[in-house]
């Protein structure tokens, strides 16, 4: 069954309409990537999915309508968002940031295990666990944002440019971790990424968005071979 189904989604900031009827879907357990130029509406699409902008149209998650619900209720269904700009709680410690990720969970014992697990993924964060998160480097805050989302044990992760500000070596590691989490825990992922080549390597499916509309869709391999995508996004 489709995990996520979006049909004719419109979104606007004030009077400016930014999404003009986007439709796409994704299957449970898969990784899907949204590609598009700057300003195409990728961030807005992810924000629309968790009710952070005003929308019209239909969004179904696991068959249920979630459009019109509050952000915090959508999170409770298992949707974790790694937002554009990282969303760090700058005055709290690294570990407090991570614990907040698990705020809605009831299985407190497993939360401790997951804390150990994300520290395993990102030993940097463990070294800095008592440090005020606002003083972490940009890359460290990006690791923190991904880790905070993992702490929810989500069904679906929305990742807005997870590699932003990370050194190439760390990006490789991060994508490895995302792949492992997807394979082992069947966490579905919707990824927006500047680095289209890496995103297409990671993803099963891809959608190309231009000015608030889906203009191309297919498996990651098909999209990779598409001439227009190659010229504009892959650069060869």
């Amino acid at each position: 069954m489709a995990l996520l189904e979006i049909s004719s989604l419109h979104a606007s900031y004030g009077l400016t309409r930014v999404l003009h009827g986007i439709s796409f879907g994704m299957e449970e357990g898969t990784i899907t990537t949204l590609l598009g130029a700057n300003g195409a509406g990728k961030t807005t699409t992810l924000r629309a999915l968790c009710a952070m902008v005003r929308t019209e149209g239909e969004i179904r998650f696991g068959g249920q309508r979630i459009d019109g619900r509050a952000t915090e209720d959508i999170v409770r269904l298992g949707v974790a968002h790694v937002p554009d700009g990282r969303g760090t709680f700058v005055n709290l410690t690294t570990e407090e940031n991570l614990r907040l990720g698990a705020y809605t969970r009831k299985d407190k014992g497993a939360v401790e295990e997951d804390l150990a697990r994300v520290y395993g993924y990102f030993p940097r964060l463990k070294e800095r666990r008592e440090q005020q998160a606002g003083t972490l480097s940009g890359g460290e805050q990006q690791m923190l944002a991904v880790s905070r989302a993992l702490m929810l044990r989500p069904k679906l992760m929305l990742l807005d440019e997870p590699s932003f500000g990370l050194a190439p070596l760390i990006v490789g590691e991060l994508f490895g971790i995302l792949r492992a989490v997807n394979a082992k825990e069947r966490v579905s992922m919707l990824v927006v990424e500047q680095n289209a080549a890496m995103a297409l390597d990671l993803a099963d499916h891809a959608y190309l968005i231009e000015t608030g509309r889906v203009v191309l869709s297919g498996t990651a391999d098909e999209i990779k071979r598409n001439d227009a995508v190659r010229r504009s996004y892959l650069g060869y």
């Binding site: 915090e72 709680f89 709290l92 705020y103 972490l136």
Partner: protein, 289 residues
């Protein structure tokens, strides 16, 4: 020297009360960036509830805890009904709402209980402890204040709910993204602030006596305390409270006389605003972009 020491200790006792009320102001300020001008009248109203319960024959501590619980619910209800609707209104509109709340609480209390000054009982024995330096009520007020401050500190520092409240105050958007119900956290904050205010009111009432205007001066000292400490710093507010209490007493006794005591608060407020607007402990936010 003896007299000086006496004034310092007496100052600590009232200072603790200012510290509590200042802390209540800071809690609301951190979440909303607004100073709740009605904080003092909310505390005064709760103190009248305590008086009513005690007059009706309820044991003191039962009345105390019932009053604190009432004040908590009262704070939550005020946030939901009065503050929530003006959440996105311009600052000035919200300030008007605060002042309206102040005036309404003051006149409703006056209407119900009249403006006649009443005595308020202290739960602590009449004979002084620690020899001549400290009346038992002063000692008791200091102890109660310290217990409240410690409980609050532990709540915010060590419980998941306390953490969520801090998160919601600092970063509402990210808080929603981890599932925190930000609106309710704000209401809870109002409830807690109101409960702390009630403790302050009940502790100060035996000293200043009970009347609908009893908190006017106290709130002014609490403003001064919050500003001295840094209006976004809970620890600073507590420090500021004790400092203002001691200054008020020492200066009042030896330098400017009792009539001008309130001027100490005003001078401090203006002085801090001019010289160091962020207070002693005000945050210079450490962030990276």
């Amino acid at each position: 020297m003896d007299a000086f020491f006496h004034q310092v200790i007496a100052g600590l006792a009232t200072g603790g009360i200012y510290a509590s009320l200042a802390l209540a102001l800071v809690m609301i300020y951190q979440a909303t960036h607004l100073i709740n001008f009605a904080q003092g009248e909310m505390a005064m109203f709760a103190t009248y509830i305590a008086w009513t319960l005690v007059e009706a024959g309820m044991p003191y501590w039962a009345a105390f805890f019932l009053t604190v619980a009432f004040a908590f619910v009262f704070g939550v209800v005020i946030e939901r009904i009065v503050i929530r609707p003006v959440e996105n209104a311009p600052v000035l509109a919200v300030v008007v709402v605060f002042i309206a709340l102040l005036v309404i609480l003051n006149s409703v209390t006056g209407w119900i209980y009249t403006y006649t000054i009443k005595t308020f009982p202290s739960p602590f024995p009449a004979e002084p402890i620690f020899g001549k330096y400290l009346t038992s009520h002063q000692g008791g007020a200091i102890a109660v204040t310290l217990v409240v401050l410690l409980l609050l500190f532990a709540f915010f520092r060590y419980t998941p709910l306390g953490l969520a409240m801090r998160a919601a105050a600092q970063n509402p958007e990210s808080s929603r993204l981890v599932g925190i119900r930000v609106g309710w956290m704000l209401a809870l904050g109002w409830g807690l602030a109101s409960a702390i205010g009630a403790v302050a009111g009940v502790m100060v009432a035996p000293i200043v006596y009970l009347d609908p205007n009893m908190m006017g001066g106290v709130l002014l000292y609490a403003f001064a305390a919050a500003l001295v400490g840094g209006v976004d710093s809970p620890g600073g507010a507590v420090f500021g409270g004790f400092l203002v209490g001691v200054l008020e007493n020492v200066l009042g006794a030896f330098v400017i006389g009792n009539e001008l005591k309130l001027a100490v608060a005003l001078v401090l407020i203006i002085g801090v605003l001019v010289v160091r607007p962020s207070g002693f402990f005000g945050k210079v936010l450490v962030t990276r972009v």
